[in-house]
Symmetry: C2
Amino acid sequence: MEIKTIRHSLSHILAATVQEFFPGVKFGIGPAIENGFYYDFDLSEKITPADLPKIEKKIKKLLKQNIKFKKKIVTKEEAKKIFKGQPYKLELIKEVPGKKATIYESGKFTDLCKGPHIKSTKEINPDAFKLTKIAGAYWKGDEKNPMLTRIYGVAFKTKKELDKYLKLQEEAEKRDHRILGKKLELFLFDEEVGAGLPIWLPKGAVLRHTIENYLYEELTAQNYKWLYTPHIGNLKLWKKSGHWNFYRENMYSPIQIDEEKYLLKPMNCPFHVKVYDSKIRSYKDLPIKYAELGTVYRYEKSGVLHGLIRVRGFTQDDAHIICAPDQISQEVNNLIKQGLRMLKTFGFKDYIIYLSTKPEKYAGTDKSWKKATDTLKYVLKENKLEYQIDPGGGVFYGPKIDIKIKDSLGREWQCTTIQFDFNLPERFNMAYIDKRGKKKEPYMIHRALLGSIERFIGVLLEHYAGSLPLWLSPVQIWVIPISTRHKKYAEQVKKELSFLRAEIKDENETVSKKIRGGEIQKIPYMLVVGDKEMKTKSVRVRERKKGDVGMIKLDKFTKRVKMELETKK
Amino acid sequence: MEIKTIRHSLSHILAATVQEFFPGVKFGIGPAIENGFYYDFDLSEKITPADLPKIEKKIKKLLKQNIKFKKKIVTKEEAKKIFKGQPYKLELIKEVPGKKATIYESGKFTDLCKGPHIKSTKEINPDAFKLTKIAGAYWKGDEKNPMLTRIYGVAFKTKKELDKYLKLQEEAEKRDHRILGKKLELFLFDEEVGAGLPIWLPKGAVLRHTIENYLYEELTAQNYKWLYTPHIGNLKLWKKSGHWNFYRENMYSPIQIDEEKYLLKPMNCPFHVKVYDSKIRSYKDLPIKYAELGTVYRYEKSGVLHGLIRVRGFTQDDAHIICAPDQISQEVNNLIKQGLRMLKTFGFKDYIIYLSTKPEKYAGTDKSWKKATDTLKYVLKENKLEYQIDPGGGVFYGPKIDIKIKDSLGREWQCTTIQFDFNLPERFNMAYIDKRGKKKEPYMIHRALLGSIERFIGVLLEHYAGSLPLWLSPVQIWVIPISTRHKKYAEQVKKELSFLRAEIKDENETVSKKIRGGEIQKIPYMLVVGDKEMKTKSVRVRERKKGDVGMIKLDKFTKRVKMELETKK
C-alpha cells in the first residue's frame, strides 16, 4: 500500500475520532501531505495540544478494530442528504463535476472523498503515526472565510521511520534559524517595519558583511566587474524586459513619481543589460562578467514567509556573463566549478544537480536552446558530475542548471542557479562586433551562486546549528581575565589577535558564568587568562564543543587561528 | 549701491531691450539671483543663444543713456490699465495684497515691482555684466502653466569681478562631474531606468566600494556597530516616527502589499531606533553607535536633478549615536574631529561650520535644547573652531552642526551634519536603565559625515577635476610593454604591484597613443617597459600631470606607491 494512501486514510480515522469526542463538529477537508496528513474541523469548543494524546489513544484503539473503508458512488442529491448539517461538505458537493459523488464510509464516519483508501485499518501500523500540532486555517485558505482548527499528524509504515522523522524534527527545531537568530542576536523582524523584511543586527551584519566581502574578493580576482544599480526602475524598463508581462504577480504595486510609474526591482537583470548596452562592444571585450549584491523585492504571501528562508526583500549574489557562442562551454564550466568550490568553502559537500530543459512556451530559437542545453550536459559530463534532468522545467527564457545543497540533516536547499537567457538579449538588442566586423547577438548567462544572501545565512545557521566556522563567526574570541589584575594581559592578548573579532569579557561575573554565556553565544574560542598564563605568555583555551583543551603559548595559538582563518575551516 | 539692486535693475533693462526687439512680448518676472539676474518672457518667436550678443549690445547702449528708475504707487485699477495685454502681470496684480501696487518706470519700460532699484543706469558698469544663457521655465514653476523663455545674466560691480566669475565658470564646466562621469565611465543615467537614479558602472563601483570600505574600516575601529535595514517600511512605522506628517512631501507614493501600505525609506532612523528598542539597554551599554550605508529615496522635482549631486536615490553614510546625557560632549567632540579628519583624508582642508539653533516649532524640552546647543558651542570652542550661527535654523527635532567643505574652486558643499534628535526617542519610548536602576530617555545624535556617497563622489570629481588621488583611482596603474617581447616582464611588474588595481595595455597600438589614452583616463601612473627596463628590473614612470619622470627601479617604485597608498595622498 502506498504510504500516501495510508496517510489519507488516517486523516479519516482522525475525523471519526474527533467526531466521537465532539459530536457537533463540522468537517472541512483532510488530505495526505508530506510526511503525514491533516484534517480541518469547525469546533464549538477550543481544543489544545494537551488534547492530542487523548485523541491519539482513541485512534489507536479504532485502528485495532479492523475498520473497513467502503467506497460508494451516490447521486449529488443523495450526498446532500448524507451530509446534511455539514455546511463545508455541502459547499464541496456543489463543486463536484457531474451528477454523482464518491463517498467513503469507515465505521460510523462518512466522508465526501475521491479516495483511494486502504481496505481496512489493519493496514495501518498504530505505532508508526503521531498527532503533532494544532493550527488555525482559513476554510479554502481564504482569510474572508471562517477559521477552522487543523490537526496535523505524521505517519510512516514503520515505527523506526517515525522515530527517525521525529528525531530529525527535534534536531531541526533546535537548529531553527529563527530561534538561533534571536538567541545569537543576528537579525530581527518587526511588525511595524513589515513582514518578511529582515533587519540585520550588528552581529548578523558582521556575518553578512564577511560573506559579501568574500564574494567581492573572489569575484574581483576572477575579473568580474561590479555594479550598483537602483532599487526602483521605471515601468517602461519592466515592460521592455518582459517582467511586467511575465513576472507581474511577483512584483509590488507601482509607485507614482510625477507622471511616471516606478516599480521595486524583482531582479537586477535589466539594469545590467543597460550597462552592457551603454557602449559598443567588440568580441575582444567578451566575456564581460557583471556582478552585483543587489537587493530585490518580490511578493510572497504572508502565510509562506519563513524567517530568512522566505522573505519579501533579499540580496542576490547576482551576476550576468555575456559572451560569444564559442565561449559558453568555458564559461559554464567556470561557473559550475566556482559554484561547487564556494559551497564547499561554506561547508557544504553534498549536493544534487538538476538540469532543466525547454518548456512548452519559450523565447529564443530551437537551435540556441539545443546548443545551450548540450553545453550544460557536456560540461556536467566533463566534470564527471551526476545530474537529474527536469524535462521541460527550464524557465521560458532558457535552460538552466540548479545545484541543491544537502545540509547536515540531509535536507535539500536550492542555492546555485545557472540560467541561459535568450529573452533579454533580443528585447534589448544586445550586440557585439565579431571578428569580421559583423553585429552579433551575444549569449547571456544569469547566475547566482549562493542564491539569496539572507536565505543562505538561514541555511548556514541550520546547517551548523549556529556554531559557524571561525571565519564566519561574528565574535570569534572571548578573552576572559580571571581577575582585574589580569585585565592588562587580556588587552595584550586581544591586541595580538587583532586580526580577529575579539572581545574582552571583564564584567563583574564569575569565570564559569562567562563560559556558560560564551557557550550559548557559540563563541569559537574562549581564552581564560590568569597568573600562570600571564607569566608564561600563554592562554588557557576553551574550544567550542571540545571544551577546555589546556594551556597554549599565545604565539602558537595565534599561528593556529591564523591558519584556521586562512583555510576557512 | 547693493549689488543685488544693480542686478535687479539690470533685469528691467533686459526686459526693456527685449521689448524693443519683440514688441509683442509678454512679461513674466525678473528677479536678482546669485551672481546675476533673469527675466522670463512669453515670446511668439524663438530666440537662441546667438541672439544674446545683439541684446547685450543694445543693453550697453541703454545703460549709457542714463535712464532713470521712477517708483510710483498706483491703485490696482490703474495698474490693471497700465498692464493691459500683459496676462502674467495682471495675474500678479491680483495677488498683491491691499489696494495699491508699486510700479517702476525706466525709460519706455514699466514693471510691476516692489523694488528697490538704482536711481539711474549710470550706476551700472556696462562692462561688468553678461547675458549667459537661455532656458525654458514654467510660469510660476508649475508644469501645468505655459513654458516661458528665461534669459539669464550675470552682473558685478567691476569688470574684474565679472572676469573672475566667468573664468571660474569655465573651470567649473571643465570639471563638471556629469561630463567626467561619462568620460571616465563611472556612472550613467538612463531614461528607461528613470531620472535621478544613478547606475554605477564598473569603474565607478570600484570608487564607491573603496570609499565604503574605508568607512567600514574606520567606523568599525571606532566601535560603530553596522546594520543593514530594508528599503521599504510599513506606513505604521512612518506614522509613528512622524515622517508621514512632517516629511511626506519628500516621500514617494505608497506601495500596497496585501492589506497594508509600505513606503520607500527617505531615512534610516526609525529602523535604527527599532534595533535599539529590541533589547533592554543599560547605562553600561552606552554609547551605542549604529552605522549603515543606507540607500534612501527622496522626492526631488525633475527640474532640480543634477548628476550625482541631486538625485532621487542616494546612499547615506548614516549613523546614530545613542548616549547618556553626561556623554554628549565627548560624543560630539569625537564626531567633529572624525568629520574633519575624514574630509581631510579626501583632500578637503577648507570648510565652514554652521551651528543651527532652535526654530519656532520644535520637539523636546527647552532644557534639552539648551543643553544640546551649549554642548555644540562648547565643543566647537574647545576645538578652537570658528563657526557661524544660523539662529532658528535647526530642524524641528534638534540643534545641529553642519560642515560645508570648500572645493578647489572655492565653492561650498554641504557634507557633514551632526544633529540632535529629541523627536524619535520620545515617539519610540527609547530608554536605558541608569546607575540607580531608573528608566531614562537617552540622547540621540544623527550624523552623516560625507552626507550622500553619490553627492560626495560628484564633489570629489569636481574638486580633483577627475584626477583622483591614487587610493581612490579606479585604475591605478597602466603597465605598457613597448613590444610583445616585453609582455612577460609587464606581467611580472603587474604581479609585483598586485596590491594595486593595475592593467597591462598590450593592445596593438603605439606607446604614445596609449599614453594619450591614459592621460584622458587620468591614470595616476603609466609604467612603460622595454629592453632597458627589463634588463635593470626598472620601470619608466609617467606620472599624471608631471609626465615622464624617468626610469626607476621597480622595488623603489613599489615602495613609493605603497607609501602613497597608505598615507592616502
